[in-house]
């Protein structure tokens, strides 16, 4: 009997477990998934919790409801990987061996990596919304906050869902407007990047949106520490941004065991072949989702496109063939812009996001890089798709390869 171990049962791990279980003969392959957390979170929902705490319960479901019954689910934390022995060590002391391994341990915010962030102001006037608990704490703060200088600051790139902090300020603008206190709130967007976003066409559009909503952008700001007493951010080149309410995206880092096992980069992401998703030295190890060091967005939609490629390549290897499927870095994500509208971007390793339309089967063409109501409904529909199609590994009629159909090439 062959053994496949999946580390991490979040978006990517659950999705690939379902796909493998459906594809491989049950009596020939034993599939095991390990994750210390029994709850599955719909992370895109964390963006909305700060503005409406009531939403929180619908974004959490038991992991076991989404993992196929024939797959072993071990609730434990991986403490070390020994790839030379094909062994996975668990915190409880148990050891698993494998023929093929899929690492899908994602990334999470690390508050302690920025001096002063985890200081006296933390969870009082300084927050984050990349975890469930963080988003709920921020919701409680915003319920009673009377206004002042709100600063949304990104500590460093890469972060998962790189548009989420932009969406956060767009939604905050709408939230304070609807509350009738927008004139009492000054919103600033602080980023280490040289602009609102990384790629030129999208940056231009998103900068326009920020200024139309009266949100200041402070770019090239690389946070050195948070001054709790002076309530300000201080950069490495000694610039300062004062705040009354700080919302951060802390440094994002991969799982600790990646560091202990000596297989990751300085942020605990695992370098893999960006097309086949395999580790160079250990071709039997694949990395799926946010844990991979590949030059595309860390997003659920990306993991979804990559999962099809991984499955094909794993099947090739099982049959003793060279893996041939190639991932092109396809990413697409909705950007919630407030007041019931959203924009959409679609891109890959080589092609930056452009304006135009995105041909979505059934729902029809969605507008790229433009605020529309239909895009907002698309974002809401994504939640249903996530729970019912995406992580269950069901077929979604969107190609895993990016298409240029509908994109406007000349400006």
């Amino acid at each position: 009997m062959g053994k496949i171990v999946i580390i991490g049962g979040g978006t990517a791990g659950t999705m690939i477990a379902n796909k493998l279980y459906k594809t491989l003969p049950v009596h020939e392959w034993e599939i095991t998934i390990v994750d210390p957390d029994e709850k599955h979170y719909y992370q895109p929902g964390f963006l909305f919790i700060p503005f409406n705490k009531k939403l929180k319960d619908k974004f959490v479901k038991p992991k076991k409801d989404y993992i196929p019954k024939g797959v072993n689910f071990i609730v434990d934390k991986v403490s070390k990987l020994e790839p030379a022995r094909k062994a996975v060590l668990l915190k409880s002391g148990q050891e698993l061996t494998y023929d093929y391994l899929i690492v899908a341990t994602g990334t999470k915010p690390s508050v302690d990596d920025t001096p002063g962030l985890n200081g006296p102001l933390w969870q009082k006037e300084a927050f984050e919304f990349y975890t469930y608990e963080g988003a709920v704490a921020l919701a409680e703060k915003l319920e009673t906050w009377k206004g002042g200088r709100m600063v949304m600051a990104i500590v460093d790139m890469p972060i998962k869902c790189p548009v989420a902090p932009l969406e956060f300020v767009f939604l905050a603008d709408a939230f304070f407007t609807q509350k009738g206190i927008r004139d009492k709130v000054e919103i600033s967007y602080v980023t280490p990047l040289p602009g609102a976003f990384t790629k030129p066409v999208a940056t231009a559009k998103l900068s326009e949106l920020l200024s139309s909503k009266n949100i200041n952008i402070i770019q090239d700001f690389y946070i050195e520490h948070v001054d709790n007493e002076g309530k300000k951010l201080v950069s490495y080149d000694e610039k300062e941004v004062p705040f009354d309410l700080l919302v951060t995206v802390p440094l994002n880092k991969g799982a600790e065991f990646i560091q202990n096992s000596g297989i990751g980069d300085d942020l605990n992401y695992i370098p893999v072949n960006k097309e086949t998703l395999q580790m160079q030295q250990y071709p039997e190890i694949f990395v799926l989702g946010d844990a991979a060091a590949i030059p595309t967005s860390k997003a659920g939609a990306v993991a979804h496109f990559a999962a099809d490629v991984l499955l094909e390549n794993l099947l090739d290897m099982i049959e003793g063939k060279e893996p041939t499927a190639k991932f092109d870095g396809h990413a697409n994500c909705f950007i919630e812009t407030g007041f019931g509208k959203a924009a959409l971007i679609d891109f890959n390793y080589d092609q930056e996001p452009l304006a135009g339309t995105f041909p979505l089967p059934v729902i029809g063409p969605m507008s790229l890089l433009k605020e529309t109501r239909l895009n907002h409904w698309g974002k809401l529909a994504f939640e249903w798709i996530y729970w019912n199609i995406l992580i269950k590994g069901r077929y979604l009629p969107i190609s895993n390869k990016m298409s240029m159909v509908g994109k406007k090439i000349s400006k």
């Binding site: 460093d156 990047l193 080149d237 891109f347």
Partner: protein
């Protein structure tokens, strides 16, 4: 793609003036580009430039944090050597493409 003569050498550059072929680079070119930023290159500068070039040639993505843990400079010194946007500025002087952090 445009070409430009820097320190007597014709090199390929993109529309922002970043060299697109790192093999065309030499130390005199670095000195010339650094002048645009009013930087006089020291051995420390060159140590950073060599590090950047090595990492990029090895196919790695560069970040300020990564340079800060290189053992050559810490982040603060990196800012002092290349004021403004240290990674953007040093990459231009090192003759490598502008680092694009991925979306």
């Amino acid at each position: 793609m445009a070409e430009k003569v820097i320190a007597g050498v014709t090199v390929k550059v993109n529309d922002e003036g970043y060299m697109t072929d790192p093999s065309q680079w030499n130390r005199d070119i670095a000195v010339e580009i650094a002048k645009e930023y009013n930087i006089t290159l020291t051995d420390k500068h060159f140590a950073v430039l060599e590090f950047l070039r090595q990492r990029v040639m090895a196919g790695e993505a560069l970040t300020i944090r990564r340079v800060g843990s290189s053992g050559i400079v810490d982040i603060k010194e990196f800012y002092q050597l290349f004021p403004g946007g240290p990674l953007k500025v040093s990459s231009k002087i090192a003759g490598i493409m502008k680092p694009l952090s991925c979306v």
